[in-house]
Subunit: 329 residues, 2 copies
């Protein structure tokens, strides 16, 4: 038996058997007076998450922080300190490394993160970049846990989904038309939704929150699994940007595939009781300037996802999607 026979989630399940204290994307630990300490780690591996020829080093430096910032956002937290671990080949141009560091520095400054330590190692193999991010969240607020969803809750998502995947395809295909530049930018570096996480935490309500790093279906699946509920998604409400729609039409792709399985959007997906719908739909665009859509409802049927279209409910499997499918990129 090799690791490939287990898949990512099989291995994680095995690791959790030995280390049962491993929790959500962020560890929640005792912190300074008044706060929990949050800790999360994420890697960018050459050949798996990026290729040197496809992403400018400055963007890669920014991107290394994004997934971690998004994990802190998904806890309603404030990012504070980072430690880095870089495993580098000796033939990497110094100018590449310098640009990479400048990108990391810019993103750190933008979000108030102080890089306080790190480690360097050599390799003959792929460049591997790890970053650990420590953050804080007030300890007198309810945690925004994945297990918080209840039947009747509304499901919301920020921004537009699937654009990062479209950007990846554009870069991979060498498609350089300037009209698609916003999609490429979304692939290079998304905007972690820290302000939305802070806003949701400040409500002091029962909210299940996760960031969309592996595609809507997989990340919604985590909420459904941990809350032991199901979901109905309204097809017309799924946030497809006009640029993604144009791209998909031109390239003969199904935009739904990008929304459901495109990864690395780093939007926030959350459920909340219906009495919060109005304040959410008003405040997030109005006060934070970030689009938000109500895309469906939580239902009691555990693990089930239905799509509602023209008043009809279709189980997801009939549409050819499996919500625990691994992302392919």
């Amino acid at each position: 038996m090799e690791l490939r026979d287990f898949g990512e989630f099989g291995l994680i399940a095995h690791i959790r058997k030995l280390f049962p204290e491993i929790g959500d994307d962020c560890a929640v630990l005792p912190g300074r007076s008044g706060f929990f300490l949050l800790a999360t780690v994420d890697s960018q591996v050459e050949g798996t998450h990026f290729r040197l020829s496809l992403i400018p080093p400055f963007s890669l430096g920014r991107r290394l922080l994004v997934a971690n910032l998004s994990d802190i956002a998904a806890m309603g937290g404030i990012p504070r300190y980072a430690l880095t671990s870089f495993v580098l080949r000796e033939d990497i141009p110094f100018s590449w490394f310098e640009e990479f560091l400048l990108g990391l520095q810019e993103e750190a400054l933008r979000y108030g993160v102080t890089v306080v330590g790190g480690n360097l190692a050599r390799t003959a193999g792929p460049v591997t970049l790890d970053l650990v991010l420590l953050g804080e969240v007030e300890d007198d607020r309810p945690l925004l846990l994945r297990s918080n969803a209840r039947p009747g809750d509304c499901i919301f998502v920020t921004g537009y989904l699937g654009e990062a995947k479209a950007g990846f395809l554009l870069v991979e295909q060498g498609e350089e038309r300037s009209e698609y530049q916003p999609l490429r930018e979304r692939f290079f570096t998304a905007s972690p939704r820290l302000s939305v996480g802070r806003f949701l935490g400040s409500l002091g309500e029962r909210i299940a929150l996760i960031d969309v790093s592996d595609g809507l279906l997989q990340d919604l699946g985590h909420i459904l699994e941990e809350s032991k509920v199901g979901a109905v998604l309204e097809k017309e409400a799924l946030p497809v940007s006009s640029l993604l729609a144009q791209f998909c039409k031109e390239k003969h792709y199904d935009p739904l595939d990008f929304v459901f399985r495109g990864g690395e959007d780093f939007e926030l997906l959350f459920t909340a009781p219906p009495h919060l719908e109005e304040i959410i739909l008003r405040s997030i665009p109005g006060r934070l300037g970030i689009p938000v859509s109500r895309i469906g409802n939580i239902i009691p049927e555990e693990g089930k996802i239905f799509i509602e279209e023209d008043g009809k409910l279709l189980p997801l499997s009939t549409l050819g999607f499996d919500h625990f499918v691994r992302k392919e990129r």
Copy 2:
């Protein structure tokens, strides 16, 4: 210009220009009431730090924690929480991964560390294992900083140096005689000196402390550089175990080379004012059961290291050692 033209310390200097808050091996951050939070990260890279064929996976799992525990020890701290980042090939046998996790679990249990989170990624290249360790140290004690050494201080080191390097050579050469098993064990997994770090911190005195991860000369060099002082080492006082002496005699190696440049001993090297000599030499072996040697003195001459032998002082360079030379392994 490629990264190889800068070397590890050149790159670290460049990183520190952009991120001036990066400190010693451990970051010292605001913590729970009464404590600083300590954070450190270390990697084990296949082909650089280990080879799958040479180290049993259980030992590798233990070893992944050791360098981090040693960093916490060097701050006089208590280890608390770990996050892991594993970059794995899909053709790795599951049984290998299972044994690796069991080794990590054993070492974590031994030192009271809770693994609270992690990340998994695929690669086609070398296995890369990162671990972040969070710890604590009381905030009302003087920190055991590398910059604390003053002329007249005594220099001490725990245990015996150079054994891990001898163990590495034995494993690499396929030398399987059982009399050398203790050296191989020292290479597989050293014992981080947490109790010594705690003892030194409890003294509340001006002590410069570092762990010996890169060989005595390089790590002493860090203390000398940051304290702007020099050192005299007494050749006869350097702790060479009888087993290392036997190994070097048989294989025609110079034991001094192992003591000075052997890496990954994870002993503690520290300086202290002379009035502490008696309590250090009595308490560390007597109360903690760990050998300790006084190996020399701090002198004012910045960056200079002399070796004292038969009453004569020889500058280190005449012996063919350069204390900023990178380790070769």
